[in-house]
Symmetry: C2
Subunit: 657 residues, 2 copies
């Protein structure tokens, strides 16, 4: 049957089951596992690598190709002066606390969040309201279970509940000392040991190293790819024939020495990012293609709502949000909409995607506005894409530090004509009269504003003018020494430092939340997991399943696989020595959307069956017809219902003479 309804919610989401699947099928695994592993470092196996490559390929198409962005590939190892200028050496840090007895290091904001969330959950349970289990870290939970029996639920006073909720809603807004105060006020201790913790201290998150054999050149591994864009700004602008706006883009590895990463792919020490730096005129942040996204609706969580202690989103058209000043400008709004379109295209559930604005203290001091695309998953809402208007900060500081102008020079369509009073000196006479003081006199007059110059002009017209130096000396000037006249100036070039809008994607977080959103178990058997990845990102698009590895199927397998390759469809053959059902079940776990079965009827009649992963529905037809249909399915030009109209259903029985 090709049209059975699929009930993906028959079994509640089971994180342990998903993790077992991802481990078993080697989507990813802890790096250096046989050495005991290292927190926050993961290796991607074949399906994980492939899923990541496909997400990257789609990203490249959606952003770089679509908008003619200039792609870069810059180095990870970075000399220290660059991050001194950018502010990372001084400020790219998290607050950590130490367990006062064991010395264990914990991230301060995570500690506050975990402890208060657990208390709220316990309160809910005591009130008989526990709908959801507390969203804690899995490992921490296990450890807690091992250490002691589950504590009895404790009900909190209503005022305390409200206070905790308020703290959690604006957690990202607290400074280190404030986090310390929260720990003391709410008696927050290390949950693993119940020991008190130290005052929060800053820990810089950059990995440090040293470049060259002398040890004299400190370097850091970049914590983001952005600086590599900014330092190349002049070359990029020239490559773009001097035109603005334009964007550069880069996909690459970055590193953050996280304090105590425990959240799987959601918090890692090494990760692949995709970053765009879009350069705009600070006086004109409109976007030429804004009209195309004006009607896209987003769930917005603005800063005012959060600062009032709420996390209630508002659904709004991007056009309205920009018009009402909630999103700062069109370019920022354009990218938020494009981010939404990208994430939903690769399979993120739009109902679990929101855009959260940074609060005042949370935002970098230079930024004008900043929004995070947050994706809901089993640990709560996780920032997966940041989108900030960084203003002119980065280009300005690097330019000031190096003396290399990082500016746009724009020919004005209409030159700006200005008039102003201008002094011209008779330098020879001036020199004869005042000797070495003549330079000082020229400087004093050069620094005069319009009013002062007009006054001087008037005095000179009277025959003599007196000016006073900063040391009190007076100089008497006569019309033979200088003239002051109104002159016309024409400015035909405008120079400015562009502003930068930066969409920045954490690909590992997107990949992991996508896996959560794609995972479900078949209604009839909870053990049969499925990853409903869209064809565009699925590691393998089509699985070719010959009845067995026998030679009689080889020519057909080769024919089908080469025809698919020519049609641009990536397929794999599974001729392993197990039943067709088991092979399909394995590929359901790998997220392979379509399967083609070749059996004795195929050899005799040149027919082939086509199976769809989610419904397990099957169709049948002549080999070339099936290839044409599956190609369109993979390319997304038709869906499964259309396929069912083009090919007859297959009932599982095929006549063989």
């Amino acid at each position: 049957m090709s049209n059975i309804t699929v009930k993906k919610t028959a079994h509640p989401f089971d994180k342990a089951r998903l993790e077992a699947l991802l481990n078993r099928r080697f989507f990813y695994a802890p790096a250096f596992e046989i050495y005991g592993g290292v927190a926050g470092l993961y290796d991607y196996g074949p399906p994980g690598s492939s899923l990541q490559s496909n997400i990257i390929a789609e990203w490249r198409k959606h952003f770089i190709v679509e908008e003619h962005m200039l792609e870069l590939d810059t180095t990870i190892m970075t000399p220290a002066p660059v991050f001194e200028t950018s502010g990372h050496v001084a400020r790219f840090a998290d607050w950590m606390v130490k367990d006062l007895k064991t010395g264990e290091v914990l991230r301060a904001d995570h500690l506050v969040k975990n402890v208060l969330s657990a208390r709220l959950a316990s309160d809910q349970e005591a009130r008989g309201l526990a709908a959801q289990p507390p969203k804690e870290d899995e490992k921490a939970k296990k450890k807690a279970k091992k250490d002691k029996a589950k504590a009895a639920p404790v009900q909190l006073p209503d005022a305390v509940v409200a206070e905790y909720q308020h703290v959690l809603a604006q957690l990202d807004n607290y400074s280190g000392p404030e986090l310390g105060q929260l720990c003391r006020k709410h008696k927050i201790t290390n949950p693993d040991t119940d020991n008190e913790v130290s005052e929060p201290q800053q820990f810089n998150l950059m990995f440090a190293s040293s470049i060259g054999p002398t040890g004299q050149h400190p370097g850091y591994l970049r914590p983001e790819t952005a600086q590599g864009h900014f330092l190349n700004f002049s070359r990029l602008l020239e490559f773009n024939n001097g035109r603005v706006p334009f964007a550069s883009a880069q996909i690459g590895r970055s590193f953050r020495n996280e304090i105590s990463p425990r959240a799987g792919l959601l918090r890692v020490r090494e990760f692949t990012m995709a970053e765009i730096e879009h350069y705009v005129d600070p006086e004109d942040k409109r976007h030429a293609r804004f009209g195309e996204v004006r009607d896209v609706e987003l769930d917005l969580l603005d800063r005012h709502v959060q600062e009032a202690g709420s996390t209630q989103v508002t659904r709004m058209r991007v056009g309205d949000a920009v018009a009402r000043g909630i999103i700062a400008n069109e370019t920022l709004g354009y990218f938020l909409a494009r981010i939404y379109m990208f994430l939903t295209k690769i399979g993120i559930n739009p109902a679990r995607l929101r855009f959260r604005q940074h609060m005042g203290n949370e935002m970098a001091h230079y930024a004008t506005d900043c929004w995070d695309a947050e994706i809901e998953n089993s640990t709560g809402w996780t920032e997966c894409v940041g989108c900030a208007d960084r203003a002119a900060y980065d280009l300005s500081v690097h330019s000031a530090k190096t003396g290399h102008p990082l500016i746009v020079r724009e020919a004005l369509k209409e030159p700006i004509v200005t008039e102003k009073e201008t002094a011209e000196f008779n330098k020879k006479t001036l020199g004869k009269t005042f000797g070495k003081d003549s330079a000082a006199i020229q400087t004093i007059i050069g620094e005069m504003d319009e009013t002062q110059l007009l006054k001087l002009k008037g005095e000179l017209a009277q025959g003599i003018a007196t000016i006073v130096a900063s040391d009190g000396r007076e100089f008497k000037l006569t019309p033979d020494l200088l003239t002051i006249e109104r002159k016309t100036f024409k400015q035909s070039i405008r120079e400015y430092t562009p502003n930068v809008i930066e969409p920045s994607f954490g690909l590992g977080r997107i990949l992991y939340t996508l896996l959560e959103h794609s995972f479900w178990s078949r209604e009839q058997d909870v053990e049969r997991g499925v990853l409903s990845l869209p064809a565009v990102v699925a590691p393998t698009k089509v699985l070719i399943v010959p009845l067995s590895a026998k030679e009689e199927f080889t020519p057909l397998v080769q024919e089908v696989s080469s025809k698919l390759r020519r049609a641009g469809v990536f397929s794999r053959v599974d001729d392993s020595n197990t039943s067709i059902g088991k092979r399909y079940a394995r590929n359901d776990e790998l997220g392979t959307p379509f399967g083609l079965t070749l059996d004795f009827a195929s050899v005799q009649n040149r027919t082939m069956t086509l199976r769809e992963r989610d419904t397990t529905g099957q169709l049948i037809g002549p080999i070339d017809d099936v290839i044409a249909v599956v190609t369109e399915l993979v390319q997304g030009t038709i869906g499964w219902p259309e396929a069912c109209e083009r090919l007859p259903a297959y009932d599982g029985v095929q006549a063989v003479d």
Copy 2:
């Protein structure tokens, strides 16, 4: 005219001119240039990034897809114990010397090479034979020129010339102390200062860092991607359903803290590699597809030739080289041929590609055989791909260190049946008789070989047997305590550690040598540079050139560019405000193979011209016909001569009513 002959050798290769082009068009540039740069770190701009992506895409198709390799993406940051086991902490080092007065650090082997090569060149000049300029580092040359006038050529005695040539031919074979002896024997000093240099010291080339906030977990940036494959071997084998041979593949960044990198992209501190680890049965290194490459001819430079002081290559079929034992096995031979096919497909000149075998001392101690694909360029012959048979070294050492078996368990088709004498104890009686000594007795007998057991069996048959412990004590045994019998054992599983054949590609070196091989200047004007990159790797395949940016061309430009996109051809539009000739010249420098011009005739007659980069020949035809032809040209299914048969030549004049 579409068939003019192209003379690419009208002007000699000019490295300065190529470098100016690459810099001007932002193929790549020194990283952190506005901060003064850092030796050995480079950023790729848009055309460089694109060229690199295309080389990687072709590599993926040629190796990973073609051979169903399992792709991985593992971390760069690596805890120290991994590289302690692999031997990198102890041995991944180069020899450096210090200028005894200035403290400048130089790589010892490069110093010997540069000084002796310069002396040989000077000798050649003195003999009036100077055909080629000495192949020194460009920067060093400039510096030397600045410091002092060029020294007069000095002729060397014939014996000295022979000795220098001998040293250079086997330079990679010297140990550090031997390099020190060479410096003293040949009075080699720092060429920049003429100062003496220190004895060579080892400098480890790995960048060190520290993982986590405590500073207690040292880590290194990987200097190769290989360890990430080996540590995941068990998971990979399972993913491959337990079958061997198979290969894993990874494309990623690696780091080497080079002592004094001065050779542009040829010697860098951070680079992208592509590595394959092919796992084989150590007892069967045949390759199923060897027949496909048997007749590929390679220029081989084997170890014996080098050790005899020569660099004379021998052209040989891969099949013959393996049959004659010059290449150690079929799998190694297969990969050498596949490497050759890949490099020549992307545009490396086969006449400047050789395969050099490692000499005895040069090869890692564990390796069975190792060949480098070396590509000739303006600095000499450069290793761009290494291809080593690493035997079972890596898997064995990691397995021994971690206790995690990294082995293959293979079901034997025919079980191996063996017979041997086997002792069986009556443990109860033995315990009663000997108490706590009974364990020692069982151990002694358990360690006996066949002969000893037979002797014991004979004695027992006599009624009593005496065995002696290592401390001299004697135990008397009787038949009631144990029996010794001949038993049959059946082994149905074979366990072994696979051997690893490792092709390892330095993509930056390949990219740079490809640019050198592709560069030439037009005969009529040396200023007009061209990069003859094959379409498969060219950053842009097709340039669309409307006569101007005027609106009347917009619909046609959009039509052509969307039709090309649908055909899978990546195009760019250049409507910048300059002549068509200048736009084509710019794109000749960017290596764009084809151009399409849209003019008034296109608007009126729907015709379009097609220009080929190397010949500058132009054809004309209806828009859809031209798109069909250019699509085939880009896909490589036809060449320019066939295109000239399909479309009429364009003489540069088109009728417009």
